[in-house]
């Protein structure tokens, strides 16, 4: 077992390294560099006099050097625990990301809770009452979440929140709590803002989970042990919830590890529409500005999380289902 974990960790390191190379290359793909972005922004604000700015930015941050030189300089720093300075923010990358990491987690967890709270009951119901009106209606509802582009849903919810309910618009905090220390009032303020992103982000994943749950449970329900259990006189409720549901939950366990990285990169659009202070919009902006130190760090972070997530998923699965342990 330990041997297996060790081997997986070694492979994981290799993956992370490969991700770092690939992502650095991809970030550098578009023509131009951060200096060009800076020029474009200055031009947009009517400033055409910063003649030296681009040239010295390139010199200072080595933007004019070959990509591989830039890569080794960067990865060398990262290995020493220094993610460097964000070009766009003029602040250490670690600080910029650190500010937003906690809130990203909060939003993700809220979205995941919403998804599960909606998807699991629907999945179970529509498997047990297959082809019933309820099955169709609920599945339809689940798919609706998938089908409505979530940025539009976000915008519509936000507008009606404002126009009908006078709710807070966008962001995660009201202005007065943004800089305040944590207090009960601030947490309450956060809750008041959190429901829109949780619903919008959660709905998108609901359909997927409903499908998986329904399919898995259907597979299990056909198995002889369920028939035996029913035949022995167990109530339907017990016969289903005791074993089949548990087994059907296995794939959920295996996807836990992926959820967070998925939400970070998948929620970018919604986070931008709702103006959430999370990592997603930060990544997008860093990529647009070609701030490769910030973008590189975030992509690397997501890569590491995916690798760890995969590992955790596999371990959880092995622990849950003894068959898999000996399968290989």
């Amino acid at each position: 077992m330990l041997n297996y974990i060790g081997r997986r960790l070694a492979l994981g390191l290799f993956t992370v390294w490969a991700v770092s190379v690939l992502s650095f290359l991809i970030i550098q793909l578009p023509p131009g560099d951060f200096a060009t972005t800076r020029l474009a922004e200055l031009a947009a604000s009517g400033n055409t006099s910063a003649i030296y700015e681009a040239e010295r930015l390139r010199a200072e941050y080595g933007l004019d050097q070959p990509v591989f030189v830039q890569y080794f300089t960067w990865i060398g720093q990262v290995l020493q625990g220094d993610f460097g300075m964000s070009l766009d923010w003029n602040r250490p990358v670690a600080d910029v990301i650190g500010d937003r990491l906690v809130l990203t987690m909060v939003v993700s967890v809220a979205a995941i809770i919403f998804t599960w709270a909606v998807a699991l009951p629907i999945g179970i119901y529509s498997a047990v009452r297959r082809y019933s009106f309820g099955d169709y209606a609920l599945t339809f509802f689940g798919f609706l979440g998938l089908a409505i582009p979530n940025f539009l849903l976000a915008l519509i919810l936000m507008y009606f929140g404002f126009a009908v309910f006078d709710a807070n618009v966008g962001g995660l905090f009201s202005a007065e709590y943004e800089t305040a220390g944590w207090s009960f009032a601030k947490v309450w303020d956060l809750f008041k803002h959190l429901w829109i992103p949780a619903i919008v982000l959660g709905l998108a994943g609901t359909a997927q989970l409903v499908r998986i749950m329904r399919a898995n449970l259907l597979d299990e329900l056909k198995k002889p042990y369920v028939i035996t259990a029913t035949a022995k006189g167990l109530t339907e409720r017990k016969a289903i919830s005791k074993y089949p549901v548990r087994v059907a939950l296995n794939p959920f366990a295996s996807s836990i590890g992926f959820l967070f990285p998925q939400i970070v990169s998948g929620a970018i659009v919604v986070s931008i529409v709702l103006s959430l202070p999370t990592v997603g919009p930060l990544l997008l902006r860093a990529l647009q500005a070609q701030d490769m130190f910030l973008a590189g760090a975030i992509v690397l972070l997501i890569g590491v999380m995916t690798v760890i997530g995969t590992l955790i998923s596999d371990l959880v699965l092995m622990w849950l289902d003894p068959r898999i342990r000996h399968g290989r």
Partner: protein, 692 residues
């Protein structure tokens, strides 16, 4: 209206003797009020009155010492600090030469905060244009007609335009309490402005290719000596150039002055290279220069001593971005209350302008201009009552939208030659229905126009030039194109190239930021079908556009066209910018002009760009204002005739022309001049805003 140079006699006529014996040299460049502009009616540079809009108004800079306050008062929180012994008394802080404003509606009360939104790190101009004062040495009066003293107390320009003398305010302090003196200007000029590592590299401190020299006369007097007549130097200091204030420019190396006592510790000339680099490395920066520029950033470094009415308390990079009152602010109202009245400005980071618009409509902002556009107007107007704010409309002095042509386009030889053919450009211009563009993209708030200044501006060559080659005349356009021999057409009616490589297909790349410029391209594509010219429309990210401009790959684009002054803001319509998207009219040509023919590419005579550039150079050095205005008009006429860029619609609201203020705020002018040069909304004088 008429403007003229300043004679010695007139100059002396403006001199007022103060108790301290100093000079107040206000309103020097145009001492006579223009007769044809009524009270508050605008005119001059700001354009005339507008139907349906209130007159222009604003706080008045009091120049008559007889009306100066004798005693000063301050905000309660500052009074508390004084009582605790943490601050010197207010009269010592404002110095003996305060900047006295007569607020537009009345004297206010202290307290309260202003909530705003900003759109990410690239929006650093947000606060610069709202709460920086501005901090330029000189500034314009609210009518945009004459120069007034600002951070400097007064100025004198010699008759030949070669020597500019600036007077500083006695007893004026940086926000950390250190005195601001001539040394701060000289420090900036000698150690920053001309440095490749920390300066801007602009030509603002040059005339005719040669450097202006800056001399310290005494502690409070600085002399700028130019090798040639340089009559526009004061206007450069007052406007939107890189020598017009620290707030918007110091992080790039501009500003015109810098706190020597603070910034010299980061500069190797004043410590040592090793020490400066070590300081930078400890803070995580690569090299002293990067650190120096960060430390000189008004929007990033709260420790930087500044002269703005508000000082940074929380940097832009750690939102919310916040400002508090500057205890050493030199602005006071005419009753002696130190300004600003409002003690805090807090700005939330909004990633998306839709959310910004929605938050504005919900009344979450007390003052908001950035990120609001013409398209937001209907929703904003609908919620005016519900959310208790007022929408202001400030038509700009420039073109909201014009097609820019790359006259130096070379990638496709035949198309490049066509673009350099004046009949072709005229035909393109005549083939556009500007009214459609105005209706669809600007809610009908603009005026169709060729590339031109606003009607009634001092440089306006006359109404006939506003529509020169800028009417919608498909027949004439087709005649012009036929005249070029482009008569062969394909099955769909598009004109064919002469080299046999298919139809004439121009390439349009734009970025929709202030308006839907890509949409404009789509509409133009449609309209040009009638003149048989095809257009490939592409939407491109802003930085990519810059990159392509630099490599001379752009052919056509669409943007705002800064066009209100041919000498101070020529970049959009003369080849004066050598890099980036603003230079797209012809970067190789701009390089040729900038280097005196050493680099770049010489423009062909037929383009007549050389004529325009000769006029431009001449006007720069023309001390007689009437003559300079005549030359300026010539440039506009030449541009309109030659169609170097295709102006579409202008003088509307898309450039910072829509803003809202909370109904609880007082001293908000009903309308102001909206100009990049004025750095609007600074000309609403936010330091005089207060809450009832």
């Amino acid at each position: 209206m008429r403007r003229r140079g300043l004679s010695r006699r007139e100059f002396l006529g403006g001199v007022v003797v103060l108790g301290g014996g100093g000079l107040v040299l206000g309103g020097c460049s145009s001492p006579v009020a223009p007769p044809e502009s009524g009270p508050g009616g605008g005119g001059g540079r700001g354009g005339g009155p507008r139907a349906g809009l209130p007159d222009i108004e604003g706080a008045e800079v009091v120049l008559d010492p007889a009306r100066f306050p004798k005693a000063f008062r301050e905000a309660p929180e500052l009074a508390k600090l004084v009582a605790e012994g943490k601050l010197p008394p207010v009269d010592q802080r404002v110095g003996s030469d305060p900047l006295v404003l007569k607020p537009v509606h009345g004297v206010g009360r202290y307290g309260g905060q202003i909530r705003r939104g900003f759109i990410g790190q690239s929006d650093f101009q947000n606060a610069v244009r709202f709460c920086s004062g501005p901090d330029s040495l000189l500034y314009w009066d609210y009518r945009f007609e004459k120069l007034v003293p600002n951070i400097a107390r007064g100025f004198e320009l010699s008759e030949d335009g070669r020597v500019l003398t600036l007077q500083l305010r006695k007893g004026m302090k940086w926000s950390d309490g250190q005195p601001l003196t001539a040394d701060d200007i000289v420090f900036w000029f000698t150690s920053v402005a001309s440095s490749r590592e920390v300066g801007t590299g602009s030509s603002s401190m040059k005339i005719g290719g040669q450097d202006v020299k800056v001399e310290r006369v005494d502690e409070f007097t600085v002399r700028y000596v130019s090798p040639a007549p340089n009559p526009l130097l004061p206007q450069r200091m007052a406007g939107s150039s890189d020598i017009a204030g620290m707030a918007g420019n110091a992080h790039l190396g501009g500003g015109g002055f810098m706190p020597k006592h603070y910034l010299s510790q980061f500069h190797p000339e004043y410590t040592s290279m090793d020490a400066a680099n070590k300081l930078a490395a400890d803070a995580g920066f690569k090299g002293w220069a990067a650190y120096f520029r960060n430390q000189a950033s008004w929007h990033r470094n709260p420790a930087l001593p500044v002269v703005t009415p508000w000082v940074l308390t929380r940097p832009i990079s750690n939102p919310p971005w916040e400002f508090g009152p500057n205890p050493y602010s030199i602005w006071v109202d005419h009753e002696g209350n130190q300004l600003p009245y409002i003690s805090k400005i807090t700005m939330g980071n909004i990633e998306n302008t839709e959310v910004l618009g929605l938050r504005a409509a919900a009344g979450d902002y007390d003052v908001q201009d950035r990120g609001l556009g013409v398209t937001n107007l209907p929703v904003l107007l609908e919620n005016e009552k519900k959310s208790a704010y007022t929408i202001h409309r400030a038509p700009s002095t420039e073109l909201d939208c014009g097609l820019r042509l790359n006259l130096a386009y070379e990638q496709d030889k035949e198309l490049g030659e066509l673009i350099r053919t004046v009949e072709f450009r005229r035909a393109l211009s005549l083939g556009i229905d500007r009214g459609q563009v105005n209706e669809a993209f600007f809610l009908g708030t603009c005026t169709p126009s060729a590339t031109m200044v606003a009607e009634g501006s001092i440089y306006d060559p006359g109404p006939e030039w506003h529509t020169k080659w800028a009417t919608y005349d498909v027949a004439q356009a087709n005649t012009l194109l036929d005249g070029l021999g482009l008569t062969a057409k394909d099955a769909e009616g598009y004109r064919l190239r002469k080299d046999g490589a298919g139809r004439i297909r121009l390439d349009f790349q734009a970025f929709s930021n202030f308006a839907d410029f890509v949409g404009v391209g789509e509409m133009v594509k449609r309209q040009w079908q009638q003149i048989g010219i095809d257009l490939n429309v592409a939407s491109v990210e802003g930085s990519l556009l810059t990159q392509r401009a630099n490599s001379n790959q752009l052919m056509l684009s669409c943007q705002q066209v800064g066009s209100d002054d041919p000498f101070l803001r020529p970049e959009a319509f003369l080849p004066t910018v050598t890099t980036g998207f603003p230079g797209m009219i012809g970067i190789p040509y701009a390089q040729w002009f900038a280097s005196g023919g050493a680099q770049g590419k010489e423009p062909p005579e037929s383009l007549r760009l050389k004529e325009a550039m000769a006029l431009y150079d001449k006007g720069q050095m023309e001390p007689d204002e009437a003559e300079r205005i005549r030359i300026g008009k010539e440039i506009y006429k030449l541009h309109a005739d030659q169609v170097w860029s295709i102006g579409l619609v202008g003088f509307g609201l898309s450039a910072n022309g829509v803003y809202l203020t909370s109904n609880k705020l007082r001293n908000v002018p009903a309308r102001v001049v909206n100009s990049q040069t004025m750095k609007s909304l600074n000309n609403t004088y936010p330091m005089t805003y207060y809450y009832e």
